[in-house]
């Protein structure tokens, strides 16, 4: 176990180093002068020189990387080319909105996937199984941003039940925050739920085909008892794993849903930075999301190994 933890953590650290190189390279791969491009018509020699000096763009490349990396490790991601404000504080201001949406979406996803997956496994081959599998097939093929638009069309514009967009902090106005959270969370959650349904179904089916479950059934134990004590106990390990991985995917992929609902999170920040050619902000957002993505994946893998010792043995 110890060796596995070390090896897996080492892999993640190596990947992180690679990620940092790619993110650092972003600004240097842009054709032309990134600061000049970012300033555009607002060009001002004094401001230009200040930004170049602050970003260290006049130094040798390796030194620049070193400074950027050590800065990033201590939480300094430079200043925005647009506002001149520190990137880190802008990112931290956006992080709670993204986290809230991701966890809410995961909650909606599990609310759908657990019952749908378990029932369709238990009733394998029955109409309800086909219905659940059909839902899963449709869910993985639906573009989430389109689904979001349809929800806005129906529930905000036509029925007027919920606000169409915008983020409100739950600390300011909890009721309004939840009202605004529902549509984006359902949008991202239904797609997540479709993916999770497939996993829950196959994990439960796998657990149901185990020897001891068949024995329990042969002994005439009640189905409900078998399901609770034998099947679900074994099925939950892969389900927890995939749920964790799905959270990482959600955090990384939520940018489009954030844009649909004008949700003031990290994804929308990244996109705005692209449009405004604000490269330090883009670098910061990409780095932060990639780090969260890597760390969640690492934690999930280690947890999985801890829960299922067969992984480290192989």
């Amino acid at each position: 176990m110890g060796r596995y933890v070390l090896r897996r953590t080492g892999q993640a650290a190596l990947a992180l180093l690679g990620v940092s190189i790619v993110v650092f390279a972003l600004i240097h791969l842009v054709p032309g002068d990134p600061v000049r491009t970012a300033l555009g018509t607002r060009f001002d020699q004094e401001l230009y020189d200040a930004l170049i000096a602050r970003a260290g763009l006049d130094q040798p490349l390796l030194l620049q990387y070193w400074n950027w990396l050590t800065g990033a490790l201590t939480g300094d991601l430079g200043v925005s080319f647009r506002t001149g404000q520190p990137v880190t504080s802008a990112l931290l201001a956006r992080l709670p909105a993204t986290m809230l949406l991701a966890f809410a979406a995961l909650f909606v996803g599990l609310l759908i996937a657990l019952p749908a997956g378990i029932v369709s496994a238990v009733r394998q081959g029955k109409p309800i199984d086909y219905a659940a599998s059909g839902f899963a097939q449709i869910g993985v093929s639906v573009p989430d941003f389109w689904f979001g638009l349809l929800l806005i069309l129906v529930f905000a514009r036509t029925l007027g039940w919920l606000p169409p967009s915008g983020y409100v902090s739950p600390l300011e106005d909890p009721v309004e925050a939840i009202r605004r959270l529902i549509l984006p969370a359902v949008t991202a959650g239904v797609v997540t739920g479709a993916i999770l349904t497939r996993f829950v179904r196959s994990s439960v089916l796998e657990a149901m085909s185990a020897e001891h479950v068949r024995l329990a059934r042969a002994k005439g134990m009640p189905n409900r008892y078998i399901l609770r004590h034998h099947v679900l106990r074994n099925a939950w390990i892969p389900i927890v794993t995939i749920t964790g991985l799905q959270l990482a995917t959600l955090l990384g992929g939520i940018v489009v849903v954030e844009v649909v609902f004008a949700w003031n999170g990290l994804g929308r920040f990244a996109l705005d930075s692209v449009v405004r050619r604000d490269y330090p902000s883009l670098q910061g957002a990409v780095l932060l999301i990639a780090v969260i993505f890597l760390v969640i994946n690492l934690i999930v893998d280690l947890l999985y190994a801890r829960l299922d010792p067969r992984i480290t043995a192989s």
Binding site: V22, L26, V30, F145, G253
Partner: protein, 330 residues
């Protein structure tokens, strides 16, 4: 876009938590069977695959939808009632009618015609992007798996780094560097999907590299190229074909997302994602048809590709199919 990562998730093609090449090992037929298929990737095998695919009703339905889409894309000028830029401002934002089955947009352009021409853009981007990742990924996977050693380590660690980014985010970063356009969208998606193919191919290569017949032909003096083309590639084909089909679905979704974000295909080209971006501005006016039809087109295309991909996997990988069936034994 939250990437639809299903059990056949293109980002985790091997289906094991740590991404090792378990599936390709399981999928590999026993050596004696491989000897026959490897030396003769003959017609009957293809015919068998096709009939297995058509026997699967869902996959057959997917194939039919896909063929219709391809036909519509190729013959868009003939099929579409109007040109994709033809607009009549006097008839803007009209709901569906006999003249305009899918209604008109804010410039009075026919939504149906734009959806049909949009199929061309989507399929083009999907095909070229996946083509890029297929060629790059296969090459990298072949070299890494066949050569091994430090070349393998360097190539695969590089792939791991690309794999460490969420798909849409990496595509956004690449487009940010290259500037948004049709070609750059293809390149960005192509790069993003390369590691998947590299992993699948490397896994398959590793599973045949040390097989007796490969070692035998090496000791008989066969060149690397001959070994790769006669023995390795035929064994890599099945997983790569399945991956291609599933990746196409995902690539089209990614293109639609990038175009919707305004950093993919640029106007006036009628990309479905771009049409949805336009449509969002007119939701408040009640122009539901502008949002409904382009999204429906993306959905149908992606679903048909997923169905064909699932069907292909079942047809080309009978062992896995039997595992799935046997799970139902209770």
């Amino acid at each position: 876009m939250s990437a639809p990562q299903d059990p056949q998730d293109p980002r985790e093609p091997q289906g094991t938590p740590d991404g090792q090449e378990r599936r390709s090992d399981e999928a590999a037929p026993p050596p004696e069977e491989r000897l026959q298929t490897a030396d003769a990737p003959s017609e009957p095998r293809w015919r068998e695959t096709l009939s297995a695919l058509l026997a699967n009703r869902l996959a057959a339905a997917g194939l039919v939808i896909l063929l219709l889409l391809i036909l519509a894309a190729v013959f868009a000028e003939v099929v579409a009632p109007y040109g994709f830029t033809d607009g009549e401002l006097a008839r803007r934002l009209e709901p569906p009618s006999g003249d305009h089955w899918f209604g008109t947009d804010e410039l009075g352009r026919d939504v149906l015609s734009r959806v049909i021409f949009g199929a061309r853009v989507s399929l083009q981007v999907g095909a070229v992007a996946v083509g890029i990742s297929l060629v790059l990924g296969t090459l990298i996977g072949l070299v890494a798996g066949y050569r091994g050693g430090w070349i393998d380590a360097v190539l695969m660690r590089t792939m791991d780094v690309l794999f460490s980014f969420p798909v849409v985010l990496l595509a956004i970063a690449i487009v940010a560097v290259l500037s948004p356009s049709l070609v750059n969208t293809m390149i960005a998606i192509g790069v993003v999907f390369t590691p998947i193919f590299a992993r699948v191919v490397r896994g398959s290569v590793l599973s045949v590299r040390e097989d007796v017949y490969v070692r035998a032909s090496r000791s008989l003096g066969a060149s690397d190229w001959r070994i790769i083309s006669r023995h390795v590639l035929p064994n890599v084909a099945a997983p790569v074909i399945v991956q291609t089909s599933l990746s196409l679905a995902f690539a089209i979704l990614t293109e639609a997302a990038l175009s919707y974000l305004g950093i993919g295909v640029q106007p006036p080209r009628p990309a479905w994602g771009l049409m949805l971006l336009d449509a969002q501005g007119f939701i408040a006016t009640g122009a539901w048809w502008m949002s409904l039809f382009p999204g429906l087109a993306i959905f149908l295309t992606v679903m048909s590709l997923n169905l064909v991909g699932d069907g292909l996997r079942d047809a080309l990988d009978p062992k896995q199919r039997s595992i799935i069936q046997s799970r139902g034994v209770t």
